[in-house]
Subunit: 355 residues, 2 copies
DNA sequence: CTGAAAGCGCTAACAG
DNA sequence: CTGTTAGCGCTTTCAG
């Protein structure tokens, strides 16, 4: 019903100047008399003018818009990182457009998809897609738009990467459990193809080895990062004749599932079983008991990623191509010393039908 | 280092045809000989061509991209609705670009901001911003881009609205508690300026009245939708000489906070106190005990919103201007009959210094 | 300090 | 079935 597609031509006419003057006045580029500028701005105001981004893009000017490509907008660890990147972008005076096609763990967007949607309007693209295909990455590499990968774990790409550590943090967590006297420490993995999970698992195994503990395959259970799988995995663990005294989950949501299963089984945290997660999502510090977990410095990661991307967008190919930030163990209340009787198999509260 | 900015001119040259033929062949519009089409597509393939969205937008063609404006990308109820809208968009063959400026509850983006970023490339805009200013809405109304409001509660706009019910659902929840024999039912509100919270509160009060229960101001505590405020509010509630036997929180996250506070206080859910939330975020069904809550049909809402927006984008101003979906009470394990002794003030486990 | 012309990549509208 | 022309809104030359 209403229209407000004022262009600079309308403004030019209203202000009695040329379009070029309008452009200059509005963008603050080049010389414009103060009086003229005021006149132009007044006209723009009245017309409710807002510039047409597409037209700007079309002739190659910067848009101050960054694209953010994410694989799963619903995972809590993901929203945390999106938030961090959003803050970083804002601080850098950039707007952020988030794009995702696969909410349900379906197919990832292909490079052509991305370029089609984001290519025309963004100065650069940040990708938080741990499981991107090599094909997509290769395509992006060949594209003309600068790309920075966030929390990408493999080394098979020439694209710059900013990431948080998975290995050391997870190793620290398990070492801490060992130091607390735990000898039967279980690991609930994420999706088997997730590189993040694999690194966390490697940290687990190396910490075990460093503490002189043998790796017990029966203590390694596969999950898929969802809370429900953490619950199921833990149930299975607790049904074993020799249950673990500590559980390390590849992410916080599974750790919550583990805590629920433990409570449902009538055991206490951390008196009977300690639980550690990974990510430090907001609810980790609100859980009951508060969850011990590993935290990546998301704000630092976001800031570095945005900065690096902007640098590339400005044509500077010099900067670092790989930046890694250390993660840190956040000790809370879900971990404690191993129970004294831990070495004696106790299935007092286990379900019947145990064989 | 690499370039892949192939345009239809490059393709035209390579295939030995005109740009118009390329355009037609690639878009499937108009008649093109099968042989020609094949030739063109092969050339496009080789060149790694991807169309320039901005150029398309610039001459008014549809982009098949929808913009989604959200106020807080980190709230769990929000990510659920974003997911629902994403699925709906995908099903409708549209891509979705999510835009948010204020992660931290800071200023909302203004209409000019939105138009600047999204205006140039989207066919239409969905807004999930319960607290949008009237100014912004007025600006959007005057704009040329179709806009659909999602879960907007006020009636002060001419823009079409698709929303889930807050009042009836909340009323049903509280009625259910009353039916279970609860007579002291507390309400933890969301941010005082949130319309959603106000509607939920109205449902609470009307249900109380309908059940013949007097409204007790001391049982109404203000939160702000964050888990921590649910915790704090509940602590305060439990410190009272006459504690409530049921707590209804304006959203699930605060309900979780309430559950934590109750457990920390040594009380059982639902034997001592029942808890009800609102939203049915994914973790609600995984909590321990599983949370009774009110669910909005997010998928239906998303689908209706996308459909309505597309309709408007196609120039059809006929459709509904206001669609509301009923919400439903999801009974789980956090609610139960009121404890028998509920009428006797029991502060056995309350903290000292009670006066 | 200001203006005119050209063109970014693409697609409607009209010829062939 | 295919090609030509023009123009979307803006900015970058190059001239005043």
């Amino acid at each position: 019903m209403a229209e407000s597609n004022a262009t600079i031509y309308d403004i030019a006419q209203k202000a009695g100047v040329s379009v070029m003057t309008v452009s200059r006045a509005l963008n603050g580029t080049g010389y414009v008399a103060e009086k003229t500028r005021a006149k132009v701005q007044a006209a723009a105001q009245e017309l409710g003018y807002s510039p047409n981004l597409s037209a700007k893009v079309l002739n190659g000017s910067r848009t101050k818009v960054l694209g953010l490509l994410v694989s799963d907008i619903q995972a809590q660890a993901m929203t945390a990182i999106i938030g961090a990147i959003g803050r970083a972008a804002k601080e850098a005076g950039q707007d952020l457009l988030v794009y995702t096609t696969a909410q349900v763990g379906g197919e990832q967007p292909t490079a052509p998809d991305v370029m089609r949607v984001l290519g025309g309007i963004c100065d650069g693209i940040l990708m938080v897609m741990p499981g991107t295909s090599e094909q997509t990455l290769a395509d992006m590499e060949r594209g003309s738009l600068p790309v920075v990968l966030v929390n990408y774990w493999r080394t098979d790409t020439a694209l710059p990467v900013v990431r948080g550590d998975n290995y050391q943090g997870s190793r620290a967590a398990v070492s801490q459990l060992a130091a607390l006297g735990h000898r039967r420490i279980a690991f609930i993995s994420g999706s088997p193809h997730s590189g993040q999970s694999q690194e966390r698992q490697r940290g687990y195994r190396d910490a075990l080895a460093a503490a002189g503990l043998a790796f017990d395959p029966s203590l390694l259970i596969e999950g898929d990062f969802a809370q429900s799988t953490g619950f199921a995995a833990t149930r299975a663990l607790l049904a074993r004749p020799q249950r673990p005294t500590a559980i390390f989950a590849a992410n916080d949501e599974m750790a919550f599932g583990a805590m629920d299963a433990i409570k449902a089984h009538g055991l206490r945290i951390p008196e009977d079983i300690s639980v550690v997660g990974f990510d430090d999502i907001p609810s980790a510090s609100h859980a009951h008991p508060r969850l011990t977990t590993v935290r990546q410095p998301l704000d630092a990661i976001g800031e570095a990623a945005v900065k690096l991307l902007l640098q590339r967008a400005a044509g500077d190919r010099q900067g670092a191509s790989r930046i890694e930030f250390p993660s840190s163990l956040v000790l809370r209340d879900s971990t404690g010393p191993a129970p004294a009787a831990a070495d004696h198999p106790t299935s007092a509260l286990a379900e019947p039908g145990q064989g």
